[in-house]
Amino acid sequence: MFATLNPALILIVGALLVPLLRGRARSLYMLALPLAGLVQLVLLPSGEYGHWQVFEYTLTTLRIDGLSFVFGLIFFVAAFLGVLYALHVEDTLQHVAALVYAGAALGATFAGDLITLFIFWELTAVSSVFLIWARRTERAYRSGVRYLIIQVGSGVILLAGIILHAHETGSIAFDNIGLSGLASTLIFIAFGIKCAFPLLHNWLQDAYPEATVTGTVVLSAFTTKLAVYALARGFPGTELLLYIGATMTAFPIFFAVIENDMRRVLSYSLNNQLGFMVAGIGVGTELAINGTVAHAFCHILYKALLFMSMGAVLYRVGTIKASQLGGLYKSMPLTAGFCIVGSMSISAFPLFSGFISKSLILGAVAAEQYWGVWLVLLFASAGVLDHSGIKIPFFTFFAHDSGKRCAEAPTNMLWAMGLTAFACIAIGVYPEPLYAILPYAVDYIPYTTTHVITQLQLLLFSAMAFAILYRRGVYPPEIPALNLDFDWVYRRLGRRLMAVSRTAIGGTDRAIRQALHRQGLRLLTGLFRHHGPHGILARTWPTGSMVLWVAVLLGAYLIFYYAGAR
């Protein structure tokens, strides 16, 4: 019984006991939960457990194999870091929601059949929304409702796909599904919503920046990576994913560049990073899947680190608008340092974690000769440096001095950031242990002269692009103004891009929206007229007219049945 206990349940059930504890005991207990789950996961040999009979279907609630093991491992690590980062928070709701949410994501990862997957899929949606609502502002509430509707909607689409799939194939096993027919398309779309495919992505940038300081850190780790896992399990080698992934890497860059809210910048950059993983799944070779898994692993760490550092700033300063920040390195030197480690990791500097995972994906794309996609990914890699590598630390901690002075982040936050930063560097310097647990054998050496030099060239040239922009922008009279002007150039470029598209499609878009809005209103008033409290369907009818209905129906039935007789 306990030998094959589902590690995810340790988090979910354990979370329910958190409200009973207080103070130090609660802190220790919450830190122990993910560790206990991690130990249980490591002790479990590969295989399928937890079978459960429902109707004619056998659910497999726990499946440990190469793919689910890696994701389980990093999810537990992320859960631990998230708990550590949030230890100072008094709000019990957030702790319970975060643990249940992490547990649900793990449960979905370990699901061996589609129904179990669906149950945990919906549980991640329902539990995570509390991390947004816990901010307790009207804005967060509305954003949370939108988030919930989209997430639950993805679950409903998934369920529809599962039912069709079960009906067509008679099997509910969660294995390679492959994109063909309506059932798999529905499942694909459901995964795509959670994975923030282009045009299905808006919930991410809408909701994540609205969550609480600690909530965003937790949110960034699980939902989208669960979707990556699900895609890697169900649709490896689907060529469409290659192009979706390439689009995903490229388009968020423009938005990230013009965005002022730093946590929203990170949300766009999250989207961009997901693109690399999706492209990797699209290639579908062993090297590519390895790259996707490794990139997800590293990405969870450095993205959490970046969100942690921005969260610490928000926590201490009270705002996360780039225009109001700057010069914080004097107040928060450690946070600044950790943020730079995160930035260098996401930009894939050699010796940082992003380098050893992203090169796997790029290598796999090149090996299959998708040169167009390869170029897009390369361009996106340079873009990452722009918005995440330079913009995030530069405008927050350096740039012009905003004059804001505050305390360094709380100790538990520093520990969480420190551990994560250590992991980012450790993986970058010594990637072999990570390579060893990937689903397929790795014979890839990241630190060859060519790789390092290519990457450094890429990074240096994009840095040089900055320098040129910076020179040709406005002549710098003094340093603080320079930065602002540079910001202005930076934004104008983006704006101009936006303006072009706005004039091109804005008018039609507005017309369509207004028409839809009008139709929607008309539909609602119509509905209200018929179904509202005084509508024809809802008002209290006089007894006589009820009886009339009875007579009419009787007549109709008699005619119908007699007609059937002839």
């Binding site: 409903v156 039912i163 009906h167 809802a538 209290t540 009820m546």
Partner: protein, 492 residues
């Protein structure tokens, strides 16, 4: 000794205890009697179900008179399942009763209420147990008359008109059923269901039998409140005392659905009803319209009790939809949903009863901040609501799953899509209650005032049942599957 007479004791004991209630002239004692009576039916129903599952249908002749002359009771998987449902709900609701009744019904009427309650229970059990078509009408009247009385006990004066309307409509329904049975008697010379089933095929092509079929369709549709004959239901549920609403919503319409199954599958025979009379074509449009329209109406209601009443109309649509799909899975879905819907609506109306107990109102405006004022009550409401929506791990999911599979079996994609879409409508109307309860501040002077434990325990018992039957389907889906195959393969 008692063992041999279980079928009749199931019905007779509450029938005899009902007048005993009045004799006591004391609300407390009457309640104890009602509790005993309900618990007794629960024990009987449990034993009957076990017996039937093990050793097949049980024919029982009252007083030792064999069927053509005496009244026969016939217990098989279908009705023992319904009996168990009625007895379970009756017991849970009566355990909940004392405080709620004290709050909502005038003291002098308490003994009468418990007496009417037992009569209603006896009537519903009798409908389910009997194997005689005329006897079924008699029990239908017993249960209906007692429920008119119970509804009229509501504090709102509109309860009287609601009850009167229900009385008129219910009587018309019962009369139609009686006319239908009378026409059948005219053609076959028997009232025993088994005999009817044997003799109808010979006269099936006559217009008299077809007229009987039409009268029965309308009469039973009235009783189950299938749209557009549902008009009596919302007011009756909204203005009746909370406990009456909970009891009737969970049992009366379910027993009526059983009557539908019994007449059209057993008495007329599935192939006559569906192949020759096209009952599926008759039921399908009304079911679909009921599911969508009643859900939409529920969204716009401002009284939560009325909202749930309209939701019941929609849920009845799901049950008749399962029948009109006319395949084994669909019929199983109907029987499972009959059971599960009783559990979820029971839990919801009992939770609502807790709210009314504290606030004396079921208006949505009163729900502001209720999540903090009555956390356990609202948690029960949310759990019941999730089951109503059909969220996995709840009983509601099992019903919806089976129903969707049944629709797909026929290849009716649009119907399957509509079932899912209607679940989303349920999300909206449940959310309209949850939103003020959890996201609006409490009124300034309000304090935390959770309902007493005697109300919460029965409510949570039903909530627990909703979760249990969402995880373990061996009682519901398996027995319903047995019952469905019995009905489908019923001898003609």
């Amino acid at each position: 000794m008692i063992d041999a007479h279980l079928p009749v004791l199931q019905v007779a004991v509450p029938l005899i205890l009902a007048p005993a209630c009045v004799l006591f002239r004391n609300g407390r004692a009457a309640w104890l009697v009602a509790l005993l009576g309900s618990a007794w039916t629960l024990v009987c129903a449990g034993l009957l179900l076990a017996h039937v599952v093990q050793s097949g249908p049980w024919d029982y002749a009252i007083g030792g008179w064999p069927p053509p002359w005496g009244i026969a009771l016939r217990i098989d998987t279908v009705n023992s399942f319904v009996l168990l449902l009625v007895a379970t709900i009756a017991t849970v609701v009566i355990a909940y009763a004392p405080r709620s009744v004290a709050a909502e019904i005038d003291a002098p009427q308490h003994t009468l209420f418990y007496s009417a309650y037992l009569l209603c229970l006896a009537g519903l059990s009798g409908i389910a147990a009997t194997g005689d078509a005329f006897n079924l009408f008699v029990f239908l009247e017993i249960s209906s008359l007692s429920s008119y009385a119970m509804i009229a006990m509501g504090q709102d004066r509109r309860a009287l008109t609601a009850s009167f309307q229900y009385l008129v409509m219910g009587t018309i329904g019962a009369t139609f059923i009686l006319i239908g049975v009378g026409l059948l008697y005219m053609m076959t010379g028997t009232l025993n269901m088994a005999d009817l089933a044997a003799r109808i095929p010979a006269v099936g092509e006559t217009t008299t039998v077809r007229a009987a079929f039409a009268f029965l369709t309308v009469g039973i549709s009235l009783k189950i409140a299938l749209l557009p004959l549902h008009l009596w239901l919302p007011n009756a549920y909204a203005y009746a005392p909370s406990i009456v609403t909970a009891f009737l919503a969970a049992t009366a319409t379910k027993v009526a659905v059983y009557v539908l199954l019994r007449f059209f599958f057993t008495v007329f025979g599935a192939s006559f009803s569906f192949t020759s009379m096209n009952l599926d074509i008759v039921l399908l449009p009304f079911s679909l319209v009921a599911i969508v329209a009643a859900s939409l109406v529920a969204i716009f209601q401002s009284n939560v009790k009325r909202m749930l009443a309209y939701s019941s109309v929609a849920q009845i649509g799901y049950m008749t939809l399962g029948i009109s799909l006319f395949n084994l899975t669909g019929l199983t879905a109907t029987i499972v949903h009959l059971f599960n819907h009783a559990l979820m609506k029971g839990a919801l109306f009992l939770a609502l009863g807790c709210v009314v107990y504290r606030l004396s109102s079921a208006n949505i405006a009163q729900f502001a901040g209720l999540g903090r004022r009555m956390p356990w009550t609202m948690a029960a409401f949310v759990a019941g609501g999730l089951s109503l929506i059909g969220v996995p791990l709840t009983a509601g999911f099992i019903s919806k799953w089976l129903l969707i599979l049944a629709a797909l079996e026929n290849g009716w994609w649009p119907v399957a899509v509509l079932i899912v879409a209607a679940s989303l409508l349920a999300v909206i109307y449940i959310w309209r209650v949850v939103e003020p309860a959890y996201f609006k501040p409490m009124p300034a002077q309000a304090v935390r005032s959770e309902a007493p434990l005697s109300l919460l325990l029965p409510t949570w018992a039903l909530v627990a049942a909703n979760v249990y039957f969402g995880l373990d389907t061996s009682l519901t889906a398996d027995i319903a599957g047995l019952a469905a195959s019995d009905l489908m393969g019923a001898p003609r």
